[in-house]
């Protein structure tokens, strides 16, 4: 038997061989039994043919008996056997012919017998009618005629031939039945012995092969049980550690859940504050826009002031020009007065009054020169102040320009702040939503961790069960190995 065959295949193969032998035996026995049954049927058939032939002869004899009785007595009740025989003869003849259809000789004989019987019946009928119509003597003469006897002899002879034929067939079939019975017996006995031997051989082969395989498997199971036991121990230890870790993870996740909720609350507050900040930024933007308009107004006013200051500077220059003229006039007057004083001094007493006038003129000129000098100083101060004012105004204008630019930048910054605050609001809302989702997810994770912890505990319990099972399996494999090795030895 092939070594690589499986357990089922080997057992199946062994049973298949045994079943095949049984099938051969059964088929052979069935055929023998069928032949025996056929022979038995043919024997019965032969007995039936012989019985019908006997019935045919008996019916014919009954008809002859009834005919004779009626002829003798002329009483109608003696015709009853005759009448019954007339009714049964046709059926019996038909039955005999049906039963002998398989035998052409018998069929031909029954066909030959039919007119003889009909003739004999006709003779009987003629005697009966003679008895009825004429007298006893006529009828007795007819009965006493040898024709009837000859016909009956022929009938008996034919039936005897047919019975002999059937008897010889019965003998043949009996021998065939005996032969079939002997063959069947031989098949059953020989097949049973062969099947028993074959079954013993196959069983021995299967037992030897399976003992080897089961022994090997049992040893494998034994070693595997040891490994499984070790693995179960490790699994139990790992499950306990995992359960501890799961507990820590559950605690951490609970803390994480609380933190997520705090973050969600903070994000919601940030969102609210960002919304308030956005409102403040919009108000600031409006305020900056107003400031920008005010700055533009200041810029226009500064331009007007600068224009006025420049005009004032021009007027101051014009005043300076006039002062130059006045100063030159005063200077010339002073020179004139001095020269007049010189001339008056040169004129002696006559020029004294002229000298006085010259002095007064000179004093006036000095006064005008001094005033002119003061006015020039004032004009210079005014021009300096105008220049300073213009410069300061220009600086202020530049400062206003810078301030305007800064206001524009501030407006831009406020818009950016509003936009960024909007973005911050959206981000805070997204954070809030994400954190809520995260909290939900953490809750789910917590549930999953709890389930996992339960599964871990179940795993630990399962590991214990596996350990017990491995121990039992080891013991079972040991016992199985002992059984197999004991049987093998």
């Amino acid at each position: 038997m092939h070594r690589n065959w499986t357990f089922g295949r080997k057992v199946g193969g062994g049973f298949a061989v045994t079943v095949a032998a049984l099938v051969v035996i059964a088929v052979t026995g069935f055929r023998s039994a069928s032949s025996l049954v056929d022979n038995d049927e043919w024997v019965s058939h032969t007995h039936q043919v012989r019985r019908q032939l006997a019935d045919l002869l008996a019916e014919l004899l009954n008809a002859e008996t009834g005919q004779r009785g009626f002829v003798i007595t002329a009483q109608a009740e003696f015709l009853e056997p005759y009448s019954q025989a007339l009714g049964a003869l046709d059926k019996t003849l038909a039955e005999v012919r049906r039963l002998t259809l398989d035998n052409p000789n018998q069929t031909r004989r029954i066909d030959d017998l039919r007119p003889v019987i009909d003739t004999r019946l006709a003779v009987m009928k003629r005697a009966i009618e003679q008895r009825r119509a004429t007298s006893f003597e006529a009828a007795a003469a007819t009965v006493a005629n040898s024709e009837g006897k000859q016909l009956m002899d022929r009938v008996r002879s034919s039936i005897a031939v047919m019975d002999d034929e059937e008897t010889s067939l019965l003998e043949v079939r009996r021998r065939e039945a005996q032969s079939s019975t002997a063959a069947t017996k031989l098949v059953i006995e020989g097949g049973s012995v062969a099947a028993i031997i074959l079954t013993i051989i196959v069983g021995w082969l299967i037992t030897r092969s399976l003992s080897s395989q089961i022994g090997s498997a049992a040893r494998h199971i034994q070693s595997s049980s040891a490994e499984l036991e070790s693995a179960a121990n490790q699994q139990a230890s790992g499950a306990r550690e995992q359960a501890t870790a799961m507990a820590e993870i559950a605690t951490t996740i609970s803390e994480l859940l609380a933190t997520s909720r705090q973050i969600a609350d903070s994000a919601r507050r940030v969102s609210q504050i960002a919304g308030q900040t956005a409102g403040a930024a919009r108000i600031g933007e409006v305020t900056v826009a107003k400031g920008h308009e005010a700055t533009a107004t200041v810029r226009r006013q500064v331009d007007v002031i600068v224009g006025h200051m420049l005009e004032l500077g021009k007027k101051s220059q014009q005043v300076g020009s006039v002062l130059d003229i006045v100063a030159e006039l005063a200077e010339q007057t002073n020179i004139l007065a001095i020269n007049a004083t010189i001339e008056a001094a040169g004129a002696g007493d006559a020029g004294r009054r002229f000298g006085v006038v010259a002095d007064e003129i000179r004093k006036l000129a000095d006064r005008v020169a001094g005033s002119t000098k003061e006015i020039r100083g004032m004009v210079e101060d005014v021009r300096s102040a105008v220049n300073t004012t213009v410069m300061a105004t220009e600086a202020g204008s530049k400062a206003v320009d810078v301030g305007t630019a800064q206001v524009i930048e501030m407006a831009t910054a406020f818009r950016q702040i509003a936009s960024l605050v909007g973005t911050t609001t959206d981000a805070a809302r997204e954070i809030e939503l994400s954190t809520k989702q995260q909290a939900t997810a953490v809750e789910q994770v917590n549930l999953a961790i709890t389930s996992a912890a339960g599964a871990t505990r179940e795993t630990e319990a399962s590991a214990g069960q596996i350990l017990d099972t491995a121990s039992q399996l080891a013991e079972l494999s040991t016992g199985l190995l002992q059984i197999v090795e004991t049987k093998a030895t």
Partner: protein
């Protein structure tokens, strides 16, 4: 505070003043930043903005000549004549009385009438005749005649050497 017209009118409305005490009139000038004074009695006239025509000369003090009242007058730089450097561009010109010459100077501060008692007359020291104090500031009295004489003497000496 009186207006100029009121002062002018007041000056002519007032009675004639008694003769002033003995005094002297001066032109207050600045030569190279130094406050100085020229006696008014030493000059014939005072001018400004004269057109001075330069002459080819070896005297550095001589600025040129100018026409004053139909008279050709030699114009000298007073600061250069006194040997004071950095006296500045002369604008004013004082014509020396009785002489066809004038001295130009840069700074003219005005007219001053100084009582004689306030004038400290010193012995001739160079071209300074004396000094007086005005507004707390001492002014040297420059003798233009002396300066002119010195220039003429130097001029003559140079001419004599050339000859």
């Amino acid at each position: 505070m009186f207006t100029l017209g009121e002062l002018f009118d007041a000056g002519f409305a007032a009675a004639p003043l008694p003769p002033p005490p003995a005094h002297r009139d001066f032109l207050c000038i600045r030569i190279g930043g130094e406050p100085s004074a020229i006696p008014l009695a030493d000059i014939a006239s005072l001018h400004t903005g004269l057109r001075v025509v330069a002459l080819p000369t070896r005297a550095p003090e001589l600025l040129g000549v100018a026409a004053i009242r139909a008279t050709v007058v030699a114009i000298y730089d007073l600061g250069a004549a006194l040997g004071i450097p950095g006296a500045g561009a002369p604008r004013w010109t004082a014509v020396v009385r009785g002489r066809p010459a004038g001295f130009a100077f840069a700074g003219f501060e005005g007219h001053a009438r100084i009582p004689d008692r306030s004038i400290a007359v010193a012995t001739q020291h160079g071209h300074v005749r004396g000094q007086f104090s005005l507004d707390g500031q001492a002014r040297a009295i420059v003798d233009l005649g002396s300066v002119l004489t010195a220039l003429e003497h130097r001029w003559h000496s140079a001419t004599a050497k050339d000859r």
